[in-house]
Structures are given as C-alpha cells and as structure tokens.
C-alpha cells in the first residue's frame, strides 16, 4: 500500500517555499481571484509562474484554488486565467462550482479536484462529480475514514481528506453568516469567522442564558489515526491553513512528512516517535486538537468553547536566509540575544539546539539583542540550510 500525498497550504511565496522544502508532495494556493481566501496574500500571475517552477524543480505539484461559487460575471474572466494556468503547467484546479468544472473540463487539460466547499459527502455525489469530469474529491470534514474508503471504492475517484488544521463548523459551502452580517460572501472568500465569536444563547421559554463559543470547532489533528488514512487508501492528506504562518506550514508539513516516511519504511507506526511528533504539533499556534469525525461523529467534546488565544506557540525567532562558510544570515522575526538557546528546525530529522555565543550585524558589529525586521549574522550551525526555521527554546 503506497503512502498518500502530503498536500500543504501556500498562502504566499514564502509559505510555498517553506512547505516544499519541509516535505510537501504538493501545495495548494490561490491566484488573486476565484479562490476562497480573499484576505490571504495569494499569488500574482508572475508569482504563480515562479511558484510553479520552484515547486516543479523540487518534484512538488501545485494545485490552484478556483473554488468560489461563481456569479456569472466572475466566470467571464476565468477562461483567460485557465489558459495561463495550463501554460504554466498547474497540476490541478480545485473547484466547487459546476459551471467552472464544466468550463475547465471542456476547454483545458487541467485536472479538476472538487473542493471541500462543494460538500461532497457520499458516493452518489462523488459519482455525479465523476460524470462531470472531476478526477479527485476533497471530501467534506463530516466524512469518517471508514466512509471515505467506501466512497473511494464505489466511485473509483482519487480521495483527498483533511488531516490537520482549523475546521469549518458548518457543512462547507452551507454557511452564509458573513454574507448577511458583514456583507461579505463566504463562498467567494469573505468568511468573517463568525463561528469563532462568543454568543449569548437564551432559551426564551425559561429565560435561561448562557454565554459560549458554541459554534467554534477544535482543530483537526490526524496524526493519531494516520495508519487508518493509509489503510483506507486515502490518496492525499491535506493540511489546512493558507492564512497561517510559515512556522505553522513548515512544522506541520515536516511532522506529517516524517510520519509518512516512517510508515513507508516500517509499514506500521508501532515503534514510531509519536511523542516527538505530538510535541512538535504542540509548538505551533492552534486550538485544542480533536479527531473530529474521523472515527466517530464529532461530539460535544469537539467544540472549542473558549476565546481564541495564542499561548501554546513556541517562538519563531526567524529563518535562515543564507549559509556562508563562517556564519548564517538570519532574518529576525522575534528578538533574541546572546545566551539564548536556539532550535534549528532542519528540513529532515530532529532539531538541533545551540547556545548562542555571538551575534553580529550585517556591518559585522557586535549585537547583544536583535530586533525583529532586521538581518543578523550568527555562528554556523551544522546542517543548517537556507530557509530553515529557527525557534526559541524557553
């Protein structure tokens, strides 16, 4: 049984580079239009060109999100963009709208993946989309692994499932809270995340009131059931989070890469370094984790009934820009100083902790404490490579 593809989010070029270098087999990203992350930087046409070249040079596929529900006027400019994507060699388009699916299958050779936004949750729906020319289904987050396997067997389609990240509480594509409260179409990229808000709920018949974050879902974490994903024959494991940091993209991609590689080597996870992976997954900002619907229907314990806060993220100090014979050039994201212990996050293998004995400015002047938004030189760390992340160890 082959291991599934690892598909990581790329909200901008920097995140794409991080995802690719930390082991993604494929990345998904959006252009300036037609996707569902209007607030994400996304890619200009020129960046798309560079991004696809960068990824393809490293054997990584690029899927482009076109997963809005289109209004007629939005469809008018789509053919030109499709031609451009085809010329660039995009590996697939991720689509929700039937008109867009048909347009792509009739006028281009770009493979179509059905977005989770289309809420395809059963084999009959999968078969509908197969007839429309779709090659892969990104299943709704309501579907269990057992059901996914059955959908795959019955439809004969490639199946992609989320393995990690934030969860839309609603059936995807079926939440229009933002449309009517913020005037922003959530199905064209304008979701205001109203499900994360605190609400006061009142029972008018008893006058009982309760304040709660009842619509906010815990984050998905599939590391504990990875073998079930593989055994179910899931073709692609998707990490959510184009809006998240490059620290998130790098860390999560690395953990799942290592886990999948471990499985392909040992054919089981029985002696895997699971605790290490769990610790790594704790280091990025996240809500409490759950396995949502993967094994059983999501129960009340999958609700994240608290205010959004960041308290579990280990600090990202920066990333390595260049490796020279006698120093590393670092882009500083959070301040650090001499005497701090840094953790290098290599693309492969366990991190390296080093005590920082010297920092120099670009002008080779001694620096005691760095400032975010600067570049500095630090002593070489064995195994360091450009675009490795550096974390602080508290």
């Amino acid at each position: 049984m082959g291991t599934p593809e690892l598909l990581a989010p790329a909200g901008n070029f920097e995140k794409l580079r991080t995802a690719v270098l930390y082991g993604a087999d494929a990345v998904y990203l959006g252009g300036q239009n037609f996707g569902l992350r209007a607030a994400s930087e996304n890619f200009t046409d020129q960046e798309l060109d560079a991004a696809i070249k960068f990824a393809h040079d490293r054997n990584c596929k690029v899927f482009v999100t076109l997963n809005s529900f289109f209004h007629q006027k939005d469809l008018e400019t789509l053919p030109e963009f499709l031609q451009y994507l085809e010329a660039l060699g995009a590996d697939a388009a991720i689509v929700s709208d039937l008109a867009a699916v048909k347009l792509i299958t009739r006028t281009s050779r770009i493979p179509v993946h059905l977005s989770t936004q289309a809420s395809c949750n059963n084999s009959q729906a999968a078969s509908f989309w197969k007839d429309q020319g779709v090659q892969r289904i990104v299943l709704g987050r309501e579907v269990s692994l057992y059901e996914a396997q059955s959908i795959k067997e019955k439809s004969g389609l490639e199946i992609e499932m989320f393995v990690h990240g934030s969860m839309c509480m609603s059936y995807s594509g079926n939440c229009v809270i933002s449309n009517y409260t913020q005037g922003r179409d959530s199905n064209r990229g304008g979701c205001a995340h109203s499900c994360r808000f605190e609400y006061q709920i009142e029972d008018p018949s008893t006058k009982q009131k309760k304040n709660s974050f009842f619509m906010s879902s815990k984050d998905l974490n599939g590391i504990g059931v990875l073998s079930q994903y593989i055994e179910a024959g899931i073709d692609s494991l998707k990490i959510e989070g184009r809006m998240k940091s490059y620290h998130y993209t790098g860390t999560i991609s690395k953990v799942y890469r290592e886990a999948l590689d471990y499985y392909s080597l040992h054919n089981s996870f029985s002696k895997s370094p699971r605790e290490y992976w769990d610790r790594e997954l704790e280091k990025v900002s996240h809500r409490s984790y759950s396995e949502a619907n993967l094994l059983l229907p999501a129960g009340p314990d999958t609700v994240y009934d608290e205010r959004e806060h960041v308290d579990n993220e280990s600090q990202v100090l920066g990333r390595i820009l260049e490796v020279h014979s006698d120093f590393l050039l670092i882009e500083v994201r959070s301040a650090f100083e001499i005497g701090d212990t840094l953790e290098l996050v290599p693309f492969i293998g366990a991190g390296e902790s080093v005590l920082l004995t010297s920092i120099k400015s670009v002008l080779d002047l001694e620096v005691k404490r760095t400032r975010p938004g600067t570049t500095v030189k630090i002593p070489l760390i064995p195994g360091a490579a450009p675009y490795n992340l550096l974390r602080g160890l508290s």
């Binding site: 079926n174 304008g190 709920i201």
Partner: protein, 384 residues
C-alpha cells in the same frame, strides 16, 4: 405565478385544504432538515392532497454522509416515491441517485446557496433533462441578473417569497451541551453575538443537526409583479411556525395588494429584508481585507525589503530567480504605506560585504534611502 408552501402536520393540512389547490411541500423527518412527519404520514397526506387537486412535493434537503445514506436507502423505493409529484433535493448525491435509479421521478434541485450563475443552473437543467420539474434558485442573485437568467431559462423556477433565512447548518449537536439540564431539542433559542452588534439569531438543534437563522426573515413579496414579469413561475411561502397567516399570504396570489403584504409582515411579528435582491456587492469589500500595496501586481517584481538600517543600508531579498539586477539599473520601491521611490543602483553588496556588479538571488544591500520601510516591494524599472 404559482404558490408553493409547506405542510408539517395534519393541522397545517386542515388550513391548506380550505384554500385553492396549490403545491405543498411535505417534510419527512428522515429526509428534511426541519421535517416532523413520518414516511407513513407523508404518504397519507400526499394521497389526500392529490385527491383535492394539490401537487405534492417531497422535501429531501438533508445533506448526508455515506452511513446515513446507507441506512436510509431501503426506504427510498419506487412505490414510496410514486406518492409525490416531485422530490426536492439539495445534496447532489440525492439528485444523482434519484435521476439514475428512478427516471420517472421528477426532481426539483435546490440551488439556494450554491449555484448562482446561469451557466451552472443550465448544467443542472441539462443533466436532469426530462427529470427536471423546476429549479429552486439562489437567493443571492440580484434582480438584474435574475431577469436575464429567467429570460434564458425555459424551465419552471422558484424563489423563496417569504420565510426564514438559514445562515448555518452543521450535523453536530451544538446547543444541548450548553443546556445540560434542559431538553432544548426542537425548541427555538436566540443567540446574540458578544463581539459584534448582531443579535436575535434564532437557533435550533434537532436530531439532524444545529441551525442558525438570520434575525430578519427574507421577503420578496413586494416584488411580486416584477418577479412575475421576469418570468418566475413559483414563489414559496414558508410560514412553518406562523400558519395562522397562511390564508392572507395565499390570497396574494389571486389578488395581489401591497397593503396585504404589509399586513402580513407586520402581523407575523418578524422583521424582514430583501437580502441580495436589489444588488449583490458581497465581494466589493474583499480589496480591503488586505493591504493591496503589498501585492506585487507587476511582472518586474524582484523581492522585498527585509532590513533597513538608518544611514547604513537597505536590504533586498531577491525572490525572483528570473531577473538579474546590475549596477546602473533603476529600481522602484513601493512601501506598505503607499509611498514610491525610484533609485539607480550605484553600489550593492552581499552579506559578506563584498561589492557586487550584478545579483540574481539572495540578499543584496544598497546604500540607505530615506522613507523606506521593511516589507516594501521592489521592482525593476524597464529601460526606455
């Protein structure tokens, strides 16, 4: 234009049968989000309705995962489905299943929150062919577009005329955990956002999931004549918890009066909106969701400024592997604040403080320029 409405109980039916025959949506608990009827009750009511000249529609708007589907499948037989004039479906799996297995069953696809374009609607119409009964159109199509769609479509169409506006639908049980000592299932609760001014959201949990509705109901009845002129064939009256207003609403179809629309709206005790009927600008705010100045919409984009040291240097990280910059080239820097500065490269260094004649990737340090901040975007100016 014809009237379509709901029947949730025998009491509803007693009210409906007093009026003129119309189309009635029957909502079985096993298939419909808010349905209360058993399959047997649906069949019984459908038979009675048919005898009195009513058309009966079976609502199947639940979205279903594979296991719910499997347990439901044995009930969906040809003889059961034959009791109804048509079946209304939202899940494309349900649509596909009916179309392929029961070619004689007429289908009404519910496209209310999904397909807004003529092109997408036309694909569904073509897919269903003879099985199509009518299309339930999206509420997000503004009237200008709607009139065009209705001119082009040659099949019957339906819109919500008056009724609640569903905002959110999940199969998870979200409310009962909050009220552990009470049975709140099937009871309308009310939600108020504590982080925005929005309040009065009706909330409902039943054994099919949790639902949030808009505080204001949807109403297009004021536009009755206009919709008729556009060619809309059916308008739906959803007074599921306010059936006492049904006769007034139904009266509008034979004798439309604006006065009666107002009477109905006032009497129902609800507030109303027309949603996106007049105009849909739900994508115009997107440009404000991010700093447009940080989007390098230019094919001559080189990279970003990552470091600025006053009186010493500005540092450019070259992102593009395609372009080489040389001494004498002219660069334009656009700051996140919207300022723009053009300069000619007189000298540049790498991180080793070695002077460079040209550079294609990595970090490049130029002599300091005032008013430049980090995250500025740098572009190569074309030579003229």
């Amino acid at each position: 234009m014809k009237l379509v409405t709901y029947c949730q109980s025998r009491t509803d039916w007693d009210l409906l049968k007093a009026g003129k025959p119309c189309e009635v949506i029957l909502t079985p608990k096993a298939l419909s989000r808010f349905g209360k009827l058993s399959f047997e009750e649906c069949v019984q009511l459908a038979n009675e309705m048919r005898e009195l000249g009513f058309r009966t529609l079976l609502e199947w708007d639940l979205l279903m995962v594979e296991s719910s589907w499997n347990s439901l499948r044995p009930n969906l037989t040809a003889s059961f489905l034959a009791n109804f004039s048509a079946v209304r479906v939202q899940d494309l799996g349900a649509l596909n299943f009916l179309h392929k297995n029961f070619p004689e069953v007429l289908i009404q696809p519910i496209l209310e929150t999904s397909f807004h374009s003529y092109s997408a609607i036309a694909e569904i119409v073509e897919f269903l062919g003879e099985s199509l009964d009518r299309v339930i159109l999206s509420l997000e199509i503004p009237k200008e577009e709607l009139s065009k769609i209705l001119t082009k479509l040659t099949v019957p169409t339906e819109l919500l005329g008056i009724g609640p506006l569903l905002l959110f639908y999940t199969p998870r049980s979200l409310l009962s955990a909050q009220f552990q000592n009470e049975d709140i299932r099937d009871r309308l609760l009310v939600g108020a956002s504590q982080e925005s001014p929005h309040k009065g959201f009706p909330l409902l949990e039943n054994d099919r999931g949790t639902f949030m509705f808009n505080p204001k109901n949807h109403c297009l009845l004021e536009n009755f004549n206009e919709l008729q002129e556009f060619g809309l064939s059916h308008l739906r009256i959803d007074l599921r918890n306010k059936m006492e207003w049904y006769s007034l609403a139904a009266g509008l179809f034979s004798n439309y009066s604006r006065e009666n629309v107002e009477k109905l709206k006032e009497g129902s005790g609800e507030k109303y909106l027309q949603g996106y009927y007049r105009v849909n600008k739900s994508d115009v705010l997107f440009k404000k969701l991010k700093n447009q100045r940080l989007i390098p919409m230019d094919q001559n984009y080189l990279g970003d400024i990552l470091d600025v040291e006053k009186k010493a240097y500005i540092a450019l990280h070259l992102n593009s592997s395609e372009k080489t910059i040389k001494i004498g080239d002219e660069l334009e820097i656009k700051t996140p604040e919207g300022k723009s500065k053009v300069f000619r490269i007189s000298e540049m260094m790498d991180a080793n403080r070695q002077f460079l004649k040209e550079a294609k990737s990595g970090m490049v340090y130029f002599p300091h320029l005032s008013s430049i901040s980090i995250r500025s975007k740098v572009f190569l100016r074309e030579k003229t």
